[in-house]
């Protein structure tokens, strides 16, 4: 059992990180903590994807001086899979933009309610709602 955990420790790290992020997104009341939760969650996904690419003893997927010298057969097992890395470069861009939009909205919320605590905002909204009636 312990071996099972230890030999696949990177995946366990991913799961634990994901749960921490998930908890922060759902459970925390502070909006900035929620945003940090989003970030942890997304970083966990990066860890997961990169883990899937790793091979024991694998090297860079580059053939040195390939032009003219690279005609030899390539042994796939000795190269790390580059595709998940590329996917994650794109995903990082998406994550940065999500972070940017989230922070911008948080600033808007702070300007309007002067707080970033979810329950205080809800309290204020309820109050203004009753006032309108």
């Amino acid at each position: 059992m312990f071996d099972f955990i230890l030999s696949k420790y990177n995946y366990w790290i991913y799961i634990v990180m994901m749960m921490i992020g998930f908890y922060a997104m759902i459970g925390k009341k502070n909006l900035v903590k929620k945003i940090i939760g989003i970030n942890i969650f997304q970083t966990a996904i990066i860890v997961f994807f990169i883990s899937t690419a790793v091979k024991k003893g694998g090297t860079l997927p580059i053939i040195e001086h390939a032009h003219g010298h690279g005609s030899h057969a390539v042994e796939v097992a000795s190269y790390i899979n580059p595709l998940p890395h590329v996917l994650m470069l794109t995903a990082i861009v998406v994550m940065v933009s999500t972070l940017g939009v989230a922070l911008a909205i948080a600033i808007q919320i702070y300007r309007r309610y002067n707080t970033l605590e979810e329950d205080e905002i809800l309290e204020q909204r309820k109050w203004s709602h009753n006032l309108l009636r």
Binding site: M25, F41, Q42, I45, I105, Q108, S128
Partner: protein
């Protein structure tokens, strides 16, 4: 130009998004016409794509000539060719209608509004046209991020509603991405057609089931399927009117399309129906959505919020058609994607018109509306009848196919749910129509003096799309047999 049309559908609005920003800085008034040009071109290109599909069959377009499964591929078949036309048409109509509304509601942000608007439509079109799982994720996020920003500029509660939407939307997108990751571990491919070939040999694998579960939850979050709909009512109520008119008809429908793609194209019907009872679960969730949406809509006094809850129910109809998993059910679901887009476009545009003229969305505030805005209210009646499902409006026909599908599947509970929801919708809309059309009672009229109400129609740029949508509801209903026999018959996934 013509062989490139699948790429143009997406690339034109994307490039024009930046052009509208540049020209908008120079002359503020230019961003509206640029948006219209971009969406018209995109609409023409998508009509051309659908025409090509109907005459010569599925289009495969390799971006940068990189062949699949390595390169990104755009695939247009009957299903997504059909939905491409819907998305670009609704986008164009929403853009036309936005002119005066945006000038009134967001006077300082007109230029940025149109940039985000085009990015939003780009995202929707990209989701629909792509044949690559990861590319779909990227477009999903483009559409969602533009949506968060557009919603956040709305009225008082908007930033907070948008923040909640962002949390749920990000969870949905991350789950989708994880699903893609699990599929990639097992198959080493991201191309949908390629995955379809590889997957059947692996159907017993647990990794596949995890991937499937992630997809199902992620996409349900994006399409706001009950009980994962909690972000929707707030977000669509507080968003600016022009934004609701774009997002409400399209975001949920595009999500439903992704659901159909993953359940029946990437995975085979055999897997989604028998190996994992996904469609059964979907059917029950959908039944919950239909009842819950209609019941909560009854409790609302704000017209826009009521429509948002009706939308939750409408998503349920589409999901129910998918959940029934037979030919009639899926025909109903795909037809309802079309019909509901037009109905929701009409209804949210009408709310925009009411907001533009009176600024009051409460149902009692609709008094005398039929005299102030006779044409708009006439379309409201048509759209209301269509949501209820009265022939010859289009809403009747998709409900008819759903009922047929439920009978075919021998699930009489769902037949009952569909009928009950129609009755609830009758109450909902007659409450609105009564307020808009019937005169106040004697004692409310001040000393018998008729209150003079001048005709104050919505501005032409807003009235025109409303009338087109109203005419669309009627004509789509009359033409629905034609649409089913020439397009939807082929759009129903193979295996049914």
């Amino acid at each position: 130009m013509v062989p490139q049309s699948p790429a143009l559908v997406v690339v034109v609005p994307l490039i024009f998004a930046f052009l509208s920003l540049l020209f908008g800085w120079w002359r503020k008034g230019l961003s509206y016409p640029i948006t219209l040009i971009a969406l018209s071109l995109s609409f023409l290109a998508s009509i051309y794509c659908l025409y090509t599909v109907l005459t010569t069959g599925t289009i495969h377009y390799y971006l940068g000539k990189w062949e699949p499964p390595w390169g990104i591929e755009y695939v247009v078949d009957h299903l997504n060719g059909f939905i491409l036309v819907i998305v670009s048409f609704v986008g164009l109509m929403a853009a036309i209608s936005s002119r005066r509304v945006v000038e009134k509601e967001l006077p300082e942000k007109v230029v940025y509004f149109y940039t985000l608007f085009l990015l939003q439509v780009t995202g929707f079109l990209g989701i629909v046209i792509t044949g690559d799982m990861f590319n779909l994720y990227v477009f999903l996020e483009i559409a969602s991020l533009a949506g968060y920003a557009l919603i956040a500029v709305g009225e008082d509660g908007a930033p907070f509603a948008s923040f909640n939407y962002l949390i749920f939307g990000t969870i949905g997108a991350c789950f989708y991405l994880l699903g893609v990751g699990y599929l990639y571990i097992k198959t080493g491919s991201l191309n949908m057609a390629d995955l379809k070939e590889i997957l059947p040999a692996l159907y017993q694998s647990k990794v596949l089931m995890v991937a499937f579960a992630f997809f199902l939850v992620g996409v349900s979050l994006k399409m706001a399927l009950f009980p994962l709909h909690v972000w929707l009512p707030d977000a669509y109520t507080y968003a600016p009117s022009a934004v609701s008119a774009l997002l409400a008809p399209l975001m949920t429908k595009v999500g439903a399309y992704v659901m159909i793609r993953i359940l029946f194209t990437v995975f085979e019907p055999h897997f989604s129906i028998e190996l994992i009872p996904a469609t059964t679960i979907l059917g029950w969730m959908a039944a919950g959505a239909i009842l819950f949406g209609a019941l909560l809509a009854l409790a609302q006094s704000d017209v826009k919020r009521m429509l948002a809850y009706i939308l939750v129910g409408e998503v349920g109809y589409i999901a129910l058609g998918v959940g029934l998993a037979n030919r009639n059910g899926l025909t109903g679901a795909i037809l309802h994607i079309l019909n509901d887009s037009i109905m929701m476009l009409a209804l949210f545009l009408i709310v925009a018109a009411i907001m533009y003229r009176s600024g009051d969305r409460e149902i009692p505030g609709l008094r005398y509306m039929h005299r102030r805005m006779p044409f708009t209210m006439a379309v409201l009646v048509i759209a209301g009848l269509s949501v209820i499902g009265i022939p010859p409006t289009c809403g009747f026909f998709s409900k008819w196919y759903l009922v047929l599908g439920a009978i075919d599947a021998n699930k009489w509970v769902f037949v009952a749910v569909l009928l009950i929801s129609s009755l609830l919708n009758v109450i909902l809309f007659f409450r609105v129509i009564e307020n808009a059309y019937l005169e106040p009672r004697e004692e409310e009229v001040h000393e018998g003096v008729e209150v003079a109400v001048a005709i104050e129609e919505a501005p032409l740029s807003l009235l025109l799309p409303i009338l087109i949508a109203g005419a669309g509801i009627l004509s789509l209903g009359i033409l629905s047999g034609e649409i089913i026999s020439s397009v939807i018959r082929f759009a129903v996934p193979a295996g049914f």
